[in-house]
Amino acid sequence: MTLQFVSGRSLLLAGTLAALMACPAAAQQPPAPGAAPLPPGSPLIGRPSTEGAMKLAPVPPPPIPTSADKLPVTKLKLPPGFKLELYAAGVDNARTLRQGDKGTIFVSSRLKDKIHAIVEKDGKREVKVLVSGLYRPNGIVMHNGTLYIAELSQVSKIDKVEDKLDGSAKPTVIYSDLPKDEAHGWKFLTVGPDNKLYFQVGAPCNICMPSDAHAQIRRINLDGSGAEVVARGIRQIVGMDWHPVSKQLYFTENSRDWLSEDVPNDKLNRLANPGKDNFGFPYCHQGNLTDQEFGWGRSCDEFTKPIALMGPHSAVLGMRFYTGSAFPAKYRNAIFIARHGSWNRSQKIGGDVVVVYLNPDGTFKSMEPFLTGFIENNNYVGRPADVLFTKDGAMLVSDDFNGAVYRVTYDRTRTASH
């Protein structure tokens, strides 16, 4: 392609820009996909035709964030006393949520190249681009005023990030000894009670024998030194948090696809023996199911069991322990987990935020839905990716499908009207 040719095209585009913007038909949104819903009670509900079952596919979000007036805010359901409102629209592919000491909300992205900062000034909320040009920057975490960023194959940091919200923030790379695989290359990043950064290196596949550099959780010092593997046998993690009492690492794990509609389940795991625990991939799934290819000659008893099964293909992502006091007391030290929702399943499941209650010894007690309504007629109207409890007692939920962040608050006087 010649350069002359390219510049000719640019001029043509510039010349026709105004004309297109004036065209009213061009501004219309495409209609939502999906066939007309079946009548209520129809036995065909939940029983897709063979062709319908053949349409299983990952559900990539639209590339352009949904406008505020088209977000599913009124469709989302919560227990009595809780209320959900729109916090911010136009946050491209919103994923991991973090809060700075001065209150800034940072929002990462998996498919886009940006990290956003949401600031409130004089009662006005503003969504800013903190930094762009990143590659799959899904993992972010705040620690002592510094924002750490885990991209596909490097970890970087921005010191005093809340003083650099004007576009002057420049990440400094601290660690890059990482594989560059696209598959499960995006990361979740957290800081442990040992002041080290923890992130996963996922398996570079749906199911395969991973290399020594894959399928693990690593930790590094805050300056990028001292890398060590603390867990193996994980497929992909997109959510981790630390138990407020035991200080053990809990994490969500996505299990393999294409084995069956109903197995294996995604998992909630606990790292009780750092450096020793192996969670079973690719030999064992959901703690009790050997793989049809890699599992022969192995036993699930060789591996660390999950503490809870989270639903087949439900795509458990971001999770946080609740340690505040604004929500009812029963939620204290429970885990809120965003289930992004399935694609490798005819009848979608997940698409919600669930609460997992633990026993005093840290084992699983029970699970219940918290925020629901993201699936309508087996289609997504949004997909929750992460949760965050903010200093003002609210919970934020990111929706990477719509590029939005919602805010959930509790007021016990609201329960009176229910």
């Binding site: 392609m1 010649t2 002359q4 040719f5 390219v6 000719g8 095209r9 640019s10 001029l11 043509l12 585009l13 510039a14 010349g15 026709t16 820009l17 105004a18 004309a19 297109l20 913007m21 065209c23 038909a25 061009a26 501004a27 219309q28 949104q29 495409p30 996909p33 062709e51 053949m54 349409k55 299983l56 596919a57 990952p58 559900v59 990539p60 639209p62 590339p63 352009i64 498919l111 886009k112 190249d113 799959r136 560059k180 695989d181 696209e182 598959a183 499960h184 290359g185 995006w186 570079p204 596949c205 749906n206 395969c208 294409w258």
Partner: protein
């Protein structure tokens, strides 16, 4: 190749003075390269006919944002608004589907490819007829050279894709598998 570049350059120059170009005029250069009737005759340039509009929108978007790096396409989409991208993708999606390669077909190769399709679930995401759906492209009767190039680029990482799903799918596949799949998909009816 030279012919269509020349034709485009002439078209561009001819349209320059016009201030009030319609969407149709804007799409002229797209159709000139990718085929007036949805079928590309140009090596390594994909046919766009009957591609799902959501797929076209994603591609236009990632070209505009330089997230998929093809210099010409990055330049073509520079500065376009979201609504302009939507209008272009909706219009291009209405072009007729391309025709499969008409030449004599080797049944043994077609059968080998069908096995690969089943093993790798290609017909799930891309639909049993390979017509694509939503943001997943139509593969039926796509240019063989372009299919092969895309599969190789997904494997090497040269084309990351918007959603990294294809990187995972091609990970266990070999180059000879790509050759067979491209042969099959260009001819599938």
């Amino acid at each position: 190749m030279r012919t269509f570049l020349a034709a485009l350059a002439a078209l561009g120059l001819a349209t320059l003075p016009a201030v009030s170009a319609t969407l149709d005029e804007r799409l002229a250069p797209c159709r000139a390269c990718h085929g007036e009737k949805g079928q590309s005759d140009n090596p390594l340039v994909p046919s766009l006919g009957a591609q799902p509009k959501d797929f076209l929108l994603v591609q236009l978007y990632i070209f505009r944002e330089n997230m998929r790096k093809v210099e010409l396409m990055n330049e073509m989409t520079k500065g376009l608004t979201d609504d302009e991208l939507r209008a272009m993708s909706e219009s291009l999606a209405k072009l007729p589907a391309p025709m499969p390669v008409p030449e004599a077909i080797d049944p043994a190769r077609m059968e080998r490819a069908k096995t690969l399709v089943a093993q790798n679930h290609c017909n799930f995401c891309h639909a049993p007829t390979f017509a694509g759906q939503d943001q997943i492209p139509r593969l039926a009767a796509q240019r063989e050279d372009y299919l092969l190039k895309s599969l190789r680029e997904y494997k090497s990482g040269a084309r990351p894709g918007y959603e990294p799903a294809m990187a995972s799918v091609v990970q266990p596949m070999k180059d000879e598998d790509f050759v067979e799949l491209a042969y099959y998909l260009a001819r599938v009816k």
